[in-house]
Amino acid sequence: MNLEKVIFGFFIILAMTLNFGFVIGELDNPVHHDVYELFFAIVVNLIATVLKFGERTQIGAIHLASSLVADLQLIAAAGVWATAVYLTGTGLTPGVTASIVSLAAGALAANVLSVIMLLVETVMFRR
């Protein structure tokens, strides 16, 4: 067993589960989507991205790309949230909530892809 692989897998899966936890619930109901969960999803996603830095393999490159996509989507979601609540003062209306959650759902897709690649890599790794 390799500790590096454990940590790597842990962060990738945690990024996906946190993201999933934030997304699940009614699309436009702000009560179902906790802001803390979004915060942790962003932090864990960023860490997962940094862990993927410096991989020179083809699969490593796709890993990094999918993580960057997830980061971008989550940060966009946070941006929408901050804009709606503080900059324009619209508040968390159903429309705003829906757009935050759908952005996060896009990130979830990228995170799922990451986990699938992790599994594929593990299956291919015969030794």
Binding site: Y36, V43, I47
Partner: protein, 564 residues
Amino acid sequence: MHSTLFLILRRMRAPLILLILSYAVSILAMTLIPGVDANGRPAPPLDFFHAFYFVSYTATTIGFGEIPMAFSDAQRAWTIVTIYLTVIVWLYSIGTIFGLLQDPAMQRAIRANRFAAEVRRLRQPFYLIAGCGETGVLLLHALDSRNQQAVVLDIDRERVGELELGQYQQDVPALTADARLPENLIAAGLHHPLCAGVIALTNDDPVNLSVAVTTKLLRPELPILCRADLLETADNMASFGVEDVVNAFETFGEHLGIAINNPGHHLLYQWLTGVPGEPLAMPMEPPRGTWLVCGYGRFGKAVARHLDKQGIQLVVVDEHPPSDHERTVVGRGTEAHTLLEAGIEQAAGIVAGTADDINNLSIAMTARQLKPDLFVVLRQNRHANAALFQRFAAQATMQPSSIVAHEFLSLLTTPLLPRFFNLALHQGDAWADVALSRIAAVVGDTVPEVWDRELSKTETLAIWQALSEGRTLRLGDLLRSPSNREENLACIPLLLKRGSEEILVPDSDTPLLDGDRILFCGEAHTRRQQALGLHDYNTLNYLLTGNQAPGGLVWRKLAERNKA
């Protein structure tokens, strides 16, 4: 670029993760700790937006203060933690980046990348030069003054550094790298479509050999010029088809031999390979008779072999004299008694050819004291000792680096010139004297410029047009002056090469064909005047017929109608 970026990312992993974690902890706590309002009543904690704002300006030590409103004591306590945590992690991250940029491995990677990019961007033909010692710098200066681009690889960092400080018209991409590694040659543009040739002139024979092998395998069509200090290396290189191998000792030995037996030919060589514009060299006339060769190393052997070939009597002076030579004397030659024992009083010349400059000077000074009219040939090993050798003023000074550089330069700029000397050598002394007097008549008393012309569509468009119209051109037409066709340009055709046929000093009546290569010598401005007729069809027409033909299409048509 990619490899350096990945190197930075890989090394930045730990600091970046620490940075993310410290931000996350600081922001999270700020969103949980309750604040206080203006009246001292408890207020809700900061939200994520303001927490992120606060931590961002605190971590980067900007410190705007307590925004959006004054903090509670609990928030202030956590702010202390935030400051120490995030500021330290920030400094650590920045320190790591600077450390990375200072890292020798990193700097090497950056330099190699920049070099490869510079080479990729080259848009004119260039020569790849491996080795930039004394020979390399001489060659580089000569190429640079002819507007030839070069790319340099050298193992020594200081020499590459000196190159960057050197005065060159062009930017010469240079890299500190081992030329033995194929990847370095590839980075230096071995696969570049504009690479015109590879020149290996390090002072290490195995390196030159490996450059030659690499080039022959990866780009067989590229010309390779190699320096070889050992005869075995030269043979080895020639065996797998390296076009031109220059051995400084052999070259000098050969010329010394020629100078003794055919002084005219040697003078011809000196005149045609000198620096254009300098005064013509006076004939060097080494006497026949017995010669002393002091130092029987690579140089001594080469000289002895070539003098032997010319039938010159030799006495070899060496601490370990060879057994295969008839007349040998044991000693260094720096002492008078050794030279006397070798028979200096009856000798005509002496070759001071050890690998040590000071010993060579000592031999020469002793010899000149014993016999002032002796012909002295000195071997100079180091360029730095030039002042000493100039002061001594031997009849001939052999400097390996300048010989190799001159040979390479003539091979690169006038590939026909070595062929000319080869053919000329088979002619008698009388022929050489005639050639010398013709050249002297044309160029006066300065070293002439030597150039070759290829008759082809890309090089000489006007000639190509005239030939494809079926007109007959003779060599004499190229010698007419564009300002007055009755006058001749001050230049001499030395050699005409047509396929495998070579005509030495061709006649003015020789008809020209597409693909001919002609070697000329004359003054520099003559070369420019000649070029007018080669590129401009109207000028060529004037040279051929004496008519000032109309240039434009309409006028040409009108002229044809008038004729009809």
